[in-house]
């Protein structure tokens, strides 16, 4: 089953690459997304029974993240055919292939039980997604691609060094390869503390760059801003989740070694800094896609902050991973639709989206409200509980800063969003033929409904998985 999850998208990528018909190729995406999710649900049944020395396999944490990525991919894949039809001028052979390769690599990463393997998967993700950013094939997207590629590569290289440091920490303690995560965690008492710490710092910087926590996020607004909405959704919900997973694995080892306090201090710092940095650039942000990118920086900050606070916040950071991914897909895809309709993504030109693209306009508004923590959408649950955990867990000032930043970000973000959504469309702006159709909006509605349901009810198996993942992050293999 483990191999199937990886091979299926790879195989589909090969077929897609070979398929001459653009329509069929786009459909392959949707079919693969469905099949992958189906296979994953089947595979998830066995997350509790993973042998400790396996190289590949789903545990609670990996399963949770991969489930999120798979659902997100499905949403994007269902959206893709209609979107690609809108862009007949673009050959999407490579685009489709890259998307599917990304899914394969995400499956590999989620199942990798060895830090080196996880690193390889993460690096390949970077390479696979670079062509996606360049989909629009203009100067701006080229610049974005270059920045994404170079910063991402440098970051991931640092993560490699971190991984090596941890391996060396194990070697210093007398452990020898193969060093699966479970083994590292079990034998964590033997690990050399200085190397472990240095390794964590490097991994944090490295994977943090891929996640896009400030100040390592600089590629993010450019890459998200210049790529199609569908790519933005996948990057913001998928690639970042993968990088976060890779970081969490290392964190679990550090926590098992009793160094959690050290790591948490760092994570809290980065979390708050990310939120503050995002705030700076979200205020009066005229470009709504860049706005979403900074929102992504903010939410990466919330994720690491949640882990940093620990306790109940850990569980809700993981919950937030899913919530953020779902809502971000709604935001990016609806922003993409609005962008299509206006042929612009900056403010004085894009107003009154609710009139020109009613469904997308509403989705954009609701998505914004959801992401900023409006009940009963899922992000509310996680943001509230992270704040509660901080306030009740002795981090009163951190909790206060968290809430203050959330509030300020809401103020900044709503300014732009309201201007985009409401008002009257400018008459000078040419009207493109784009219109909201079922195909370009139904997947978004589905994702938003899912985010709503998640805010009210979570199936028991998923709750147990979340608990399992939380235990894992507490340092229990």
């Amino acid at each position: 089953m483990a191999w199937l999850l990886i091979a299926l998208p790879l195989f589909a990528a090969a077929i897609a690459f070979a398929t001459p018909s653009p329509t069929v190729r786009a459909r392959i995406l949707a079919v693969t997304g469905l099949l992958h999710l189906g296979a994953l649900v089947g595979a998830l049944r066995g997350w509790g029974t993973l042998p400790p020395d396996a190289w590949l396999g789903l545990d609670a944490l990996g399963g949770w993240v991969l489930l999120v990525v798979s659902v997100l991919f499905l949403v994007c894949a269902l959206y893709a055919p209609a979107y690609l039809e809108l862009r007949p001028d673009r050959d999407h052979r490579i685009f489709t292939g890259s998307l599917l390769t990304f899914l394969a690599m995400a499956s590999l990463l989620a199942q990798a039980r060895h830090p080196g393997l996880a690193w390889v998967a993460m690096e390949t993700t970077t390479l696979a997604t670079a062509p996606l950013v360049y989909f629009n094939r203009n100067r701006r997207s080229l610049e974005a691609t270059w920045k994404y590629l170079l910063i991402g590569s440098v970051g991931i290289a640092l993560a490699l060094l971190g991984t090596l440091f941890i391996a060396y920490a194990a070697q210093t303690g007398g452990l020898s390869e193969p060093l699966q995560y479970s083994r590292l965690m079990r034998e964590s008492a033997l690990l050399s503390k200085p190397w472990l710490r240095a390794g964590f710092v490097l991994s944090l910087v490295g994977y943090g760059t891929k996640m896009g926590i400030a100040p390592l996020h600089a590629w993010k607004p450019d890459a998200y801003g210049e790529s199609p909405g569908i790519v933005g959704a996948l990057l913001a919900g998928g690639v970042t989740s993968c990088a976060f997973l890779a970081l969490l694995r290392i964190y679990a080892v550090v926590a098992a070694a009793g160094e959690a306090a050290f790591a948490q201090e760092l994570l809290i710092g980065f979390g708050l800094l990310s939120m503050a940095w995002a705030l700076v650039f979200m205020v009066r942000q005229a470009d709504f896609k860049r706005l979403l990118a900074y929102s992504s920086v903010e939410h990466m900050g919330i994720l690491v902050l949640g882990i940093g606070i620990g306790g109940n916040a850990t569980r809700f950071a993981l919950f937030h991973l899913a919530a953020n991914a779902l809502v971000k897909s709604v935001l990016f895809l609806s922003a993409g639709n609005i962008h299509r309709s206006y042929a612009s993504k900056t403010l004085p030109f894009v107003t009154g989206a609710i009139r020109r693209t009613p469904v997308s306009g509403w989705l954009f508004l609701l998505g914004f409200l959801a992401i900023t923590g409006t009940p009963p959408f899922a992000p509310f649950i996680s943001e509230f509980n992270i704040a509660a955990a901080a306030l009740n867990g002795g981090h009163v000032w951190i909790g206060a800063a968290f809430l203050l930043l959330l509030s300020a970000i809401f103020l900044g973000m709503s300014d732009t969003v309201l201007q985009v959504v409401f008002g009257t469309p400018s008459h000078e702006r040419v009207r493109t033929p784009y219109k909201d159709t079922i195909a370009t909006t139904a997947p978004l509605v589905g994702a938003l409904v899912l985010a709503l349901v998640m805010g009210l009810w979570l199936p028991r198996p998923l709750q147990e998985m979340l608990d399992g993942a939380t235990r894992f992050l507490g340092g229990l293999p």
Partner: protein, 211 residues
């Protein structure tokens, strides 16, 4: 102590890289550094392991030949030969490089080696190469030189990896090398596109996206 010699050479190449004006030459030096790294495991007396031998061969092939080849081809395509007006002058670069080496020594001092490990120079050398790569990335304006910087940064990491080379699973090692290669390959392609789109590979011009 052959490996110490190789490492010392690597650190020297760092300074050369920082000081060189010509793109052609920096590619050469980086390639030379790659070859040095390729020979490093052999000098550590690890002849017995087959996978180490394979790895050494692959390293020399990829870092010493394939990647320089890609870079040279890109250089010819984009017609860039000199790095002009770096953000940081060459003298300052040299001083910073020296500073980086100093920092590396301090850091390495704080990271105790495995008891009985005789490779004391590895950690500072790896870190200083890493910082050199960073220095190139931060101070140079041409896209191509930045790729060289990235290559050097990777070399630094690879150098540290040699400490673990005995035990590293081959799957992971090859994955790492392959990724590096593909990465540079993709970067080469992008550089080519950049020249076509911007009429230049000066990254100063690529600051259209900002806040």
């Amino acid at each position: 102590m052959l490996h110490d010699l190789l490492i010392a050479l690597t650190m020297l190449t760092n300074f050369t890289l920082v000081a060189t004006h010509r793109v052609q030459k920096s590619i050469q030096v980086a390639a030379f550094q790659g070859v040095l790294l390729g020979f490093l495991p052999l000098s550590m007396g690890l002849w017995r392991h087959t996978h180490v031998l394979l790895l050494a061969a692959a390293t020399i092939l990829v870092k010493g030949w394939l990647i320089p080849f890609l870079l040279r081809r890109a250089m010819r395509q984009v017609q860039i030969h000199r790095e002009v007006n770096p953000y940081i002058s060459y003298t300052l670069s040299l001083m910073l490089c020296a500073l980086g080496t100093g920092i590396s020594l301090v850091l390495a001092h704080n990271l105790p080696l495995k008891p009985g490990d005789a490779h004391g120079l590895f950690v500072p050398a790896a870190l200083s190469t890493l910082f050199t790569g960073f220095l190139l990335l931060v101070s140079r304006r041409k896209a191509l030189t930045q790729v060289v910087g990235y290559l050097v940064l990777e070399n630094g990491i690879y150098l540290f990896g040699m400490l673990l080379v005995e035990q590293m699973p081959l799957l992971v090692e090859t994955g790492i090398l392959l990724d590096l290669f593909v990465g540079i390959f993709v970067m080469g392609i992008v550089i080519n596109h950049i020249r076509a789109a911007f009429d230049s590979t000066d990254t100063l011009r690529m600051a259209e996206l900002k806040d």
